[in-house]
């Protein structure tokens, strides 16, 4: 008698677990993966979206642009976040795997060049920043600063920011082998705050203190000039970035496999729509311009 009861309980609970797992499997989870520059922003966008649509769970992971694109090609995520365009190699690999990437611009990032607050240097030209990171300028006094050897901070090679900076600022030349390869934006910020002779580059969202909304204590965001004769602009100057005057700005992307539909389409529309763009601005990134909106529309067809 007792045994039968026990058996019944076991069977019923098995049935419940089984039914439960089935209903979870029916709900499709949207997997987003990629750029560390985007991971916080997309996480917040996803939370806002899920508040309105509690039936669509969204999981957001970092790992770097290369990791996200590789995951999209391998079919292990639905949306890839990336802060650089696809490489030729990746497009070919996608074709081999029958993946047809569609690209959407969801925000604009100013890569900010940061130094320690105690550094007297306030602005640099693109050429100077490039030469510093190539290892050709080794001391701060060569650019009008104190007599200290420059301590370089950058990202690891799986980062979209690493590739973007190499292409746009270093002129597709090698980084100095002395550059410290840090794990993420936050680590660069911490390193620069502690190191008086430092220079680093991070996504513009990372220079703010999350509580006060001001630039982090101990950090100075450099103004960058296109060349030695033109005026320098700060990435914190929104008007200048919108007008395209800040030289180190870049669009941030999401890619899907083929034309998105259903919940994925809805989520992308939310991100690029007015609500999403409000969040983008609040998180310290720049909203997308009209040329980006046209490009997004084209990719939705």
């Amino acid at each position: 008698m007792n045994f039968k009861k026990l058996l019944l309980v076991v069977l019923v609970s098995f049935g419940l677990v089984f039914a439960g797992s089935c209903s979870i499997a029916k709900q499709k989870m949207i997997q987003v993966k990629g750029s560390d520059t985007l991971v916080n922003l997309v996480q917040i966008l996803a939370e806002a979206y899920m508040e309105k649509n509690p039936k669509t769970p969204i999981a957001v992971l970092g790992g770097g642009s290369g990791t996200g694109i590789a995951a999209l090609i391998n079919g292990t995520c639905d949306i890839a976040d990336h802060s650089r365009p696809w490489k030729e190699k990746e497009i070919n690999l996608a074709k081999e795997n029958d993946v047809e990437p569609r690209r959407f611009i969801i925000a604009v990032d100013g890569v900010s060049v940061i130094v320690n607050e105690s550094n007297s240097v306030g602005d640099l030209s693109m050429d100077q920043v490039g030469a510093i990171y190539r290892g050709q300028i080794k001391n701060w006094k060569e650019v009008g600063g104190p007599d200290k050897p420059i301590s370089l901070y950058g990202r690891q090679s799986n980062s979209g920011t690493y590739v973007f900076f190499q292409e746009h600022v270093l002129g597709k030349k090698n980084y100095s082998p002395d550059m410290k390869r840090m794990n993420g934006n936050a680590q660069i910020v911490e390193g620069v705050i502690q190191d008086k002779a430092s220079i680093g580059y991070v996504g513009v969202g990372y220079v703010y203190d999350t509580k006060s909304g001001e630039v982090r204590k101990g950090l100075k965001v450099l103004k960058i000039a296109n060349d030695a004769n033109s005026p320098a602009y700060s990435p914190l100057d929104k008007a200048a970035v919108d007008a395209g005057k800040y030289p180190v700005a870049r669009p941030l992307f999401q890619s899907t496999n083929g034309k998105p539909n259903g919940a994925i389409l809805d989520f992308i529309k939310f991100e690029t729509g007015p609500e999403g763009q409000n969040i983008v601005e609040r998180e310290g990134f720049f909203t997308i311009g009209s040329s980006h909106i046209t490009e997004n529309k084209k990719n939705l067809k």
Binding site: Q156, K172, N174, P177, R181, E190, Q194, D195
Partner: protein
């Protein structure tokens, strides 16, 4: 009769079971070696093996020229390992001698478990300590602008190797027969002389083994060094420069590398080099152990 053959069958079944277990460990090892070997061989279709080992520049994603030289990383790995041993060996043997010979038994009962708990701290936590605590201290002491360098890595690896060194050294000191120490003391030697000239030499095989195990840990450790050494791929100019070890390099690049490319195979080749180095360290420790054991007998 029937009963007898059943017993025999049972016995041979048990024998076979233990034999399979024993052979499994060996098979896994051989399997790993073969996997590393076969996955690294394709790398040398495009890379000259001599350049791979002697060239100082590692830059497989360079837009200018791809370079696959791992000498800087080999030197870096040995630097942090050496630094860790310089710190951990004297300290570890000192603590072990204190625990086994000097400390009151109550102190020992409390201290030894604490030391062993130290071994269970995750490497990420120790790496974090290196960033927020040791980094600024090292920068201050040596007058450099930052603490992301080989010294920091060495200190953290020393912390991680210490529990192994202390625990095994203390055990082997305790295993030295009491008669040795009693004879020494009876001959008029002081406790210090007894410890240094009798007990530690008698326990030397265990102490050496503990050092080798600590060294193995230091060479293979990844997360901690990845977090605190700065990972600059330049050839190290000294203990105060940022370095990149072989393990850190594999961990950084394997997640992002396109599969089945030269870069991918080259990372496995680094793994093979690492495997051979740890194998040699273990072999050396085995030979040393045997030599000492023979001399003792």
């Amino acid at each position: 009769m029937n009963r007898m053959s059943f017993a025999r069958l049972k016995e041979s079944a048990i024998k076979a079971f233990f034999f399979t277990n024993g052979i499994l460990a060996v098979l896994v090892l051989i399997g790993i070696f073969c996997l590393l070997l076969f996955t690294s061989v394709p790398a040398f279709r495009e890379i000259n093996i001599k350049e791979f080992l002697i060239d100082k520049n590692w830059n497989p994603t360079s837009p200018v020229k791809e370079e696959y030289g791992i000498l800087s990383m080999i030197v870096s790995t040995f630097m942090v390992t050496l630094g860790a041993l310089i710190i951990a060996v004297p300290l570890g043997i000192g603590v072990a001698a204190y625990l086994s010979d000097v400390a009151h038994w109550k102190v020992r009962e409390i201290a030894k478990p604490i030391v062993e708990v130290l071994a269970g701290i995750p490497s990420v936590v120790i790496g974090f300590l290196g960033i927020v605590l040791f980094g600024p201290i090292i920068a201050g002491i040596f007058g450099v602008s930052h603490g992301l360098n080989a010294v920091n890595g060495s200190i953290l690896l020393a912390i991680m190797a210490l529990p192994t060194i202390i625990s095994i050294s203390e055990d082997s000191l305790n295993a030295v027969p009491r008669a040795y120490a009693e004879a020494s003391l009876a001959l008029g030697a002081s406790r210090w002389q007894t410890l240094i000239r009798v007990r530690i030499p008698a326990a030397l095989s265990g102490i050496l083994a503990s050092m080798m195990l600590g060294m193995g840990r230091a060479i293979g450790e990844t997360m901690t060094v990845l977090m605190v050494t700065g990972n600059a791929p330049a050839f190290p100019k000294g203990f105060l420069s940022s370095i990149r070890t072989m393990t850190a390099n594999i961990a950084i690049e394997l997640g992002e590398v396109p599969y089945y490319t030269t870069h991918y195979y080259a990372l496995f080749a680094i793994g093979l080099v690492l495997f051979i180095i740890t194998f040699l360290v273990n072999l050396a420790s085995d030979i040393i152990l045997h030599k000492y054991q023979e001399r003792e007998q």
